[in-house]
């Protein structure tokens, strides 16, 4: 089954068309990479998939497991298993990370009609995942993302992905700004999420991440359109010849 099917998607932000007809599908069990130069619309696509207000779908559709996503609020989408790791994670002053994780996890579970977790269960699960990502305990007691370094914020995003176990994860430039050790940790976190019933969309500006995460498909986004799609080799080609060549060919 197709986990995600995007068909002729047009999106405008503040009256300006940014995405100009994107067609893309991610079957269950696959990991796709979207690459593209700055300003090509990668973050716009990820916000649209997560349901951010102000990203107006003017044409086309987005099906998630066969159902239209576009009318749902971001929290409903999250409860259905859609997760977005933000390119720029947001600081939430005064809200302790652990509290945020518990509230979010239980909000999703409640929306799905599942039993909520108690504090002990949440803590156990968070700790396990935090250890794998080298996130120290005291970071969990600090307000979410407030004063975290760039790398810490990105790892916190991956921790949340691991905790929520989404069906569809979209990672928007999670690799940028990471040193090589952090990149490895993040990559192994992502690889751990690969499963036959799940799909991952990795948005990246650089080929570097794809040394650690081998995609099933690579798509090139430029000027709000997918200009090329191919296998893992396409990433290497981009690395060698740059976006310019690919975009011109299209």
């Amino acid at each position: 089954m197709k986990l995600l099917e995007i068909d002729d998607l047009h999106v405008s932000v503040q009256g300006k068309e940014i995405l100009k007809g994107i067609t893309l599908s991610v079957p269950e069990g696959e990991l796709h990479a979207i690459m593209g130069p700055n300003g090509s619309g990668k973050s716009t696509l990820s916000y649209t998939l997560a349901g951010r207000e102000g990203y107006e779908v003017t044409r086309g559709q987005v099906l998630y497991r066969g159902d239209d996503l576009t009318a749902l609020s971001p929290d409903r989408r999250a409860a259905l298993g859609v997760f977005l790791a933000l390119q720029y994670p947001v600081e939430i002053p005064g809200v302790v990370t652990l509290t945020f994780l518990k509230v979010a996890l239980n909000a999703q579970r409640r929306a799905r009609g599942e039993q909520e977790f108690d504090a002990v269960q949440v803590l156990r699960s968070v700790r396990q995942n935090a250890a794998a990502l080298n996130i120290p305990e005291d970071m969990l007691k600090r307000p979410l993302n407030a004063g975290f370094s760039g790398g810490e914020k990105k790892r916190m995003e991956i921790l949340q992905m691991a905790l929520f176990e989404p069906r569809l994860a979209i990672l928007d430039e999670t690799d940028s700004g990471l040193d090589i050790d952090a990149l490895r940790l993040v990559a192994s976190g992502v690889n751990a999420q690969r499963a036959p019933d799940r799909g991952i969309l990795v948005i990246t500006h650089y080929q570097r991440l794809l040394d650690y995460i081998v995609p099933d498909r690579v798509h090139v986004l430029a000027g709000g359109r997918i200009v090329r799609s191919g296998g893992p080799d396409l990433a290497l080609e981009l690395e060698k010849s740059g976006y310019g060549a690919v975009v011109e060919v299209a």
């Binding site: 933000l86 947001v90 509290t99 945020f100 509230v103 979010a104």
Partner: protein, 485 residues
């Protein structure tokens, strides 16, 4: 002149459904005649079986009040109050003025407090919290009296203290907030009905949290409670008050006076969770909350700390203050004021530095939503003899939506060159980024707002006793319902 009323009159179906404590208890009441005159003052005093000196005190306050007028400097607007069109005393008929024990309390009252989440039976109570429950004009129950007595702590209705501990009451009543202090305090001095009295003897650390739960039930009735807390040398007490009222479509007046006295080395921690009925979303009904709260750090090295979570009331006019008289004394004010719909709050503090090396700290978090107006008004005054006084003030305002307002009005007076006074203020909005981020993680919008606001208030919430911090956090969420989307 006594009339028995049944308060089962139908309360207009109001839109303010979000207010969870807005129910009415149907119970027979005894009231004073409507309006305010010397007879009513005498009636209240007689109901309380007060000694002559207390009656005289009230009457002189009343005479004074008649010559006073309402203060007009606050940023709050309301139609003129007709002081003759209200009742000044209401008490459940079944309730003797001096409840002998919990067994004597009307089951309807027990049930009322149960509904509010305050079980009065000691077995069911939060461990470590003693409760005085005040219903309209009378105290209906005080728990854990025996255990407190063993420690030497007096915790009782003030009406009882006037009869049983007249020397203490005479010595301290009106010594922090003088009878002539201001219009509302003077009114309270004339007609105050009930409230709590606490005395902690020298060297005693009060073995449990003390709390008073105020409930306005009767319609068209003002509540005028009076609280007096004395912490003798090197003692400690933590006290918490909570307040609720039914939804009614007419405004009701609440004018309380709280006086705190901390002697040498004593510490008083006073916390308030104020959730009087705020009125409906069109600004109909709600409590007018005009309150005078002041603490006197009379002794050397004493400390008074006010923490308030103000979510209710149509109008809040309240400035819990500290007189830092003793050398090395410390005053603190931690405040969260949330206004939604048409609520108005003008609240803050006064820190009066009189002694040497006195320190004060102010953290104020104002949250405004709907069409509400929220003002922080604070005075830091350092007198000439107050060498090395220190103050730090942090005032943060958060706006939700385009139609509300936040205002910060700091007054600073420094008459001693060694004073160090710092004032920081910020105004912000809940950002779309924060809201989207929380929602994208599965948190519905209103819950996300509540979470972000709770984060904004964290430094103040942390000051509350554990047992109440959780309740206060929930209240923050509830009082902002309907503020987004």
């Amino acid at each position: 002149m006594t009339a028995a009323y049944d308060t089962s009159e139908r309360v207009a179906e109001l839109a303010g459904e979000k207010y969870k404590d807005g129910f009415v208890t149907e119970i027979e009441m005894v009231r004073a005649e409507k309006g305010l005159n010397e007879e009513v003052v005498r009636f209240i005093s007689a109901r309380k079986q007060e000694p002559e000196w207390m009656l005289e005190w009230r009457l002189s306050a009343f005479q004074r009040w008649r010559q006073m007028s309402e203060p007009k400097w606050a940023r709050v607007h309301y139609p003129p109050i007709d002081y003759q069109d209200a009742y000044y005393y209401a008490a459940p008929k079944s309730q003797p003025d001096r409840p002998a024990s919990l067994d004597d309390v009307d089951p309807k009252l027990i049930e009322t407090y149960q509904k509010l989440g305050i079980p009065l039976s000691e077995q069911k109570l939060l461990a470590g919290v003693a409760v005085d429950a005040v219903f309209d004009s009378v105290s209906v129950a005080t728990t854990f009296k025996r255990r407190l007595n063993e420690a030497g702590v007096i915790f009782c209705p003030i009406s009882e203290a006037i009869r049983d501990y007249p020397d203490l009451v005479r010595k301290y009543l009106g010594s922090v907030v003088p009878v002539t202090d201001n219009f509302f305090a003077t009114l309270n001095s004339a007609v105050f009905s009930d409230g709590s009295f606490v005395y902690v003897p020298e060297g005693v650390r009060c073995p449990m949290e003390l709390s008073t739960y105020f409930r306005i039930n009767a319609s068209e009735t003002g509540q005028f409670e009076r609280t007096l807390i004395i912490a003798d040398k090197n003692s400690y007490v933590s006290y918490l008050e909570g307040c609720t009222a039914p939804k009614r479509d007419r405004h009701q007046l609440h004018a309380a006076v709280v006086e705190l006295v901390a002697l040498d080395g004593a510490e008083i921690k006073y916390s308030t969770v104020q959730n009087w009925y705020p009125g409906d979303e069109n600004g109909r009904g709600g409590i007018y909350n005009f309150v005078t709260k002041r603490g006197d750090c009379r002794g050397r090295g004493s400390k008074i700390s006010w923490t308030q979570v103000e979510t209710g009331s149509a109008i809040t006019w309240k400035y819990p203050s500290c007189i830092l008289r003793g050398d090395d004394s410390i005053g603190e004010f931690y405040s969260i004021a949330i206004t939604n719909n048409y609520q108005q709050a003008d609240t803050g503090t006064k820190m009066l530095h009189l002694g040497r090396n006195t320190r004060s700290r102010i953290i104020s978090k104002g949250i405004s939503a709907g069409r509400a107006q929220n003002t922080y008004r604070g005075l830091v005054s350092v007198h000439a003899k107050a060498e090395n006084a220190r103050n730090h003030t942090q005032c943060d305002s958060l706006l939700i939506g385009p139609h509300c307002g936040a205002h910060t009005v700091p007054y600073i007076e420094g008459r001693n060159p060694s004073a160090k006074i710092e004032h920081e203020a910020t105004t912000s909005k809940i950002s779309d980024d924060q809201l989207f981020y929380a929602m994208a993680r599965g948190i519905p919008e209103e819950e996300a707002v509540a979470l972000i606001v709770n984060g904004f208030c964290r430094e103040v919430l942390q000051q509350l006793p554990m047992e109440f911090a959780v309740e206060a956090q929930k209240l923050v969420g509830i009082s902002l319902e309907g503020s987004v989307g």
